[in-house]
Symmetry: C2
Subunit: 321 residues, 2 copies
């Protein structure tokens, strides 16, 4: 369990129940499959999304029998998308551990992702409502469409900030929104409160992804920088790149006209992004989303979990970058 | 629409409604995605699974508002697995048309399959019951596990008939069973009748897959033979191969000890399978499943759709092979 939950005994205990529930639902005859998913469950993810379900559900009449399964499903949806994303990115490592696609092959990873989707809907059908399943499957469609959009937008020379924001809205913010929303909805919060949670999730998610994209350029860790290089090579231009390139097209155009970047091109482009303030401009936008998230959190009804949400958001969005 | 439905006006009209419903549910802003799925919908599949839902639902109190969406979801589950299977098989063609993975790339195909899964659960949540969603997601898990099992069993020198039957039970028969079962369940048939439909689907599905695997060895069509060759190269040994190799191990062992087969090896193996009665023995087992299916169909209550099911099964399982 990530140390960020140590301070919060209740959340921490509930997250342990989420992990147990996931483990019991992926049991199957084939121990190789079971173990590969167990590794994924214990690979050191922050369990942010299930924690969000738990936190928002405490604003209504909290029922662990409903909330723990719901929290498990959002984490499993997240895991399924990670497994499939790693296929696309041809990623060798995830959270410092070898990915399923690297360890067992792409073919295996396709089916493990599919299996996780199925288990997720199985849990939902056993413990939730048709309404939640509808919301979950709608969100998941949007996440898939976001991923396809990112794939189709490779080498997008228009460098549109709007398109980038749309993409990360689907790819990252959607699942944050969903988590905070379904927790509140399941525990009978008013529509207005549920919607507020949706917006909080959206703003946290947007800031979180922009910061992630910034860290790719500023992080001291070699593996992080490598990830920015991989993105550029695949033609995925994130916010720092887009901002720098929009303002200084003449430097970027010779590169953008190519569709294949050499390692040297990538190094040049990374230096250009830092030189032309791509990172600083992206930080400003991340800051705007962060402020918006806190403003909305402050408007939540008084509740011990309001402080938890505020502190967790602080911890997530005030990372050094 | 496949010409096998021309004789049955009602089923044919209901299948048209299924196709329309699928089309309206895959609408999205990105026309490339929408069109690639439309191509798949109209690529000449027999629509067997949705037809099975429709047929069995007529044994209870038929409600098109419930049945058409349910029929659409089983076809979409089927389509999702096809798209992902083609990734694994690196298939260039499906039903004579270029596959999504070949046309748009593997990455795109991963997400299109995921999107189809989501749409499928979205339709279920809008029109069905938690019970059906549970049954559907359970079936889907078994299908995924069957696919993973097939993948893990490559180059399986034990040549176990039982393992082969388990694999095709998950990979093919499960969705046939599910289709006949959910149609009956949704229209309020008794548990016993629903279960009978499940068994009918199982036996039809088993016979259907064995016949498919036989046709790979006996078909006159070059593309079919190619598919057997691809299977062998990937180390997927189907029933005709298993029967022939079990009875004549000495001829097969020198090949089975390799894990990489040359084109010449594959040609040799295909000749050996035919020479050593692999096809004949497989035909006998297909015949047993076919007889079982007809026996169970005959026990169904009298109903005009009993004849439809019987004729369709006849048409499917009495193919020249």
């Amino acid at each position: 369990m990530d140390k960020m939950w140590n301070k919060y005994d209740d959340v921490s205990n509930e997250l342990k129940a989420v992990v147990s529930l996931m483990e019991s639902n992926i049991k199957c005859k084939d121990k190789k499959i079971e173990n590969s998913i167990k590794e994924l469950i214990h690979s050191g993810g922050k369990l942010l999304r299930p924690a969000f379900v738990i936190i928002s559900s405490h604003f209504g009449s909290y029922n662990p029998k409903k909330v723990i399964p719901l929290a498990a499903t959002v984490e499993m949806l997240h895991m399924a998308t990670l497994v499939h994303d790693d296929i696309i990115d041809d990623a060798k490592l995830r959270r410092g551990q070898e990915t399923i696609q690297s360890k067992y092959g792409k073919d295996y990873a396709v089916y493990i992702g599919d299996f996780l989707f199925c288990v997720c809907f199985k849990i939902l059908a056993s413990s939730s409502t048709l309404e939640n399943i509808k919301i979950d499957s709608n969100s998941m469609s949007r996440i898939c469409l976001g991923e396809i959009d990112q794939f189709n937008s490779r080498f997008d020379n228009t460098l549109s900030v709007k398109n980038y924001l749309n993409r990360i809205s689907g790819k990252t913010a959607e699942l944050f929104s969903l988590s905070l929303y379904v927790g509140a909805a399941e525990s009978g919060c008013t529509d207005a409160l549920c919607k507020r949670f949706w917006h909080i999730g959206h703003n946290i998610g947007m800031a979180f992804q922009i910061i992630d994209d910034i860290l790719d350029y500023t992080g001291s860790n070699d593996s992080i920088k490598k990830s920015a290089a991989v993105d550029i090579k695949q033609g995925i231009f994130t916010l720092p790149f887009i901002y720098a390139a929009r303002k200084n097209k003449s430097f970027f155009i010779p590169y953008l006209e190519k569709q294949i970047f050499s390692d040297e091109d990538v190094m040049d482009l990374m230096l250009l992004v830092n030189k032309y303030n791509g990172v600083d401009s992206a930080k400003q936008l991340a800051h705007k989303y962060t402020e918006k998230a806190f403003k909305l959190i402050n408007k939540l009804p008084e509740n011990p979990y309001k402080i938890v949400l505020s502190e967790v958001t602080q911890c997530l969005l005030k990372r050094t970058y």
